[in-house]
Symmetry: C2
Subunit: 296 residues, 2 copies
């Protein structure tokens, strides 16, 4: 069995700067002490989720890749012998920014980057203002652990993204995420949304017979402009096996670090009993490239 | 609200012929008495699930469409003012057979047919012997209730099928199904499979913001050749709303008829809060048409 011990590092963001970096570093050391092979951080973990408003000054936080954060995490990865999936605000050029996930290999090198392909935009998540949709396409990132199908948050709602990663040989789907409750929604709607978020990703695990890890932010973050009650990030980070079975689920409202052993060899056994990849009707899928199928 | 009251008719198959037809008719009358708009029957409900073995004599049960079964159900549909989703063994020509679902409208006419596009083949489900893969493509069937995205069983594992139906305007996904437990599997594996089956379909509901109905067979059916312990069809027919939320779930091991009110207007409200169709990266999905993505 090729075991990948994975640390899900679910964080709250009451602070920024050095205090936050020290907390992240402590969590990565905790993961290494637990003999993790892989550590996954939430989406945009270098500070507050700044997309609650459209603020030109927020671009100051973007950084080049490689840059200060990848160097810092690279040193930690090499010291701790840990592969790290990080999620950063990338400044690619003046006026050109991305929401980018990176895999830092256990030797500290940058194994690859994935620029978030699906960009959301809805009240409180004004990401289309900040992030140019990615141009990396859907390719897993090869590292010493295997092929990681790294996607980011909004991607999680798109079966196409998971499928394309699987078809390109991903062995594990990994989603850094920032999603939460609107405190004004009714409790039942909040519950349905959180469950739907988990269901659709567990569905990707089943459809592709792949294990999957999603790591979310937790805790309340206020709206800096005070127009809304802010976001209660709902935590609930989780890992599933290749039949969508929950391996672990973290709490909704607290920081946590969980270690879970993922068997990267089990996908092939599951695909032998459920040979979906044998039977895809690629002769009849062209409509997937359409915006809408008024006519064929 | 456009309400579609749907009858999920979960059947066991201890008998065949007239006895079975009388039971189906009684259930359709029960659905109509409960003011159902739509009744959904399990996959291949005209008799035993014959694909447990490869038997040339089994083709005798195939029938043309329209044919005796659609005429019989058409008369019932017109009398009961009920739309019926049926699943039949279609004889299209000598040596050319399909696993075909039909929608019979409330005036008794054949609103349309869907030939199962993804055909399974694994021990106990030798469907590739019997059924030519469908050539209808993935198009919803329009009837007096709206656009029904009718798919069949193995299709349920393929996000592409659900997506193509959604893109073509389906308002409700409908899956007649025949799936069960291998009695030799460990209880945990049986439970994982059943849960995966439900998860992946609830995932389609979420990804497409569509309600979904799956109606399965139940009960034990022996292997006619006695080589295996047969199949325990696991029932568990269910309906979900457009956030994947369970509206109803039937028992695993008993026949049952359940009525559930499905709100066909809720999808648009859900798609306004989660506008996935706005953001699909159709410029980057070409790999979905590949068998495997060794290289772009």
């Amino acid at each position: 069995m090729r075991r990948c011990r994975t640390a899900l590092i679910q964080l709250a963001f009451p602070d920024t700067g050095d205090a936050l970096r020290q907390r992240i570093e402590a969590r990565l050391r905790e993961a290494a002490a637990g003999r993790a092979d892989l550590a996954v951080l939430p989406e945009l973990h270098q500070g507050r989720y700044f997309c609650q408003t459209e603020d030109p000054a927020a671009f100051d936080a973007a950084e080049p890749l490689p840059g200060p954060t990848t160097r810092w995490l690279g040193e930690l990865a090499a010291e701790l012998q840990l592969v790290i999936v990080a999620s950063l605000f990338e400044r690619r050029a003046a006026g050109l920014y991305h929401n980018t996930a990176v895999v830092i290999d256990r030797d500290g090198t940058l194994a690859g980057r994935y620029r978030k392909m699906h960009i959301p935009d809805d009240p409180g998540y004004y990401e289309k203002y900040y992030f140019t949709p990615g141009d990396t396409g859907f390719r897993p990132i090869r590292c010493s652990l295997g092929s990681l199908g790294v996607l980011v948050c909004w991607d999680q709602w798109f079966p196409e993204a998971a499928r394309l990663m699987a078809l390109a040989g991903a062995e594990l789907l990994v989603y850094p995420t920032a999603i939460g409750r609107d405190p004004r929604d009714a409790a039942e709607e909040q519950a349905r949304q959180r469950e739907a978020w988990q269901l659709v990703q567990r569905g990707h695990a089943v459809a592709n017979a792949l294990p999957l890890v999603a790591v979310n932010r937790t805790g309340h973050e206020p709206d800096p402009e005070g127009r809304t009650p802010g976001i209660d990030f709902w935590g609930s980070s989780f890992a599933t096996g290749p039949q969508g079975e929950l391996l672990i689920e973290l709490p909704q409202d607290d920081e946590d670090l969980a270690l879970v052993d993922i068997d990267l060899d089990r996908s092939e056994r599951v695909r032998r009993i459920w040979p979906f990849f044998r039977d895809r009707r690629i002769d009849a899928y062209e409509g997937l490239l359409a915006r809408w199928r008024e006519e064929d």
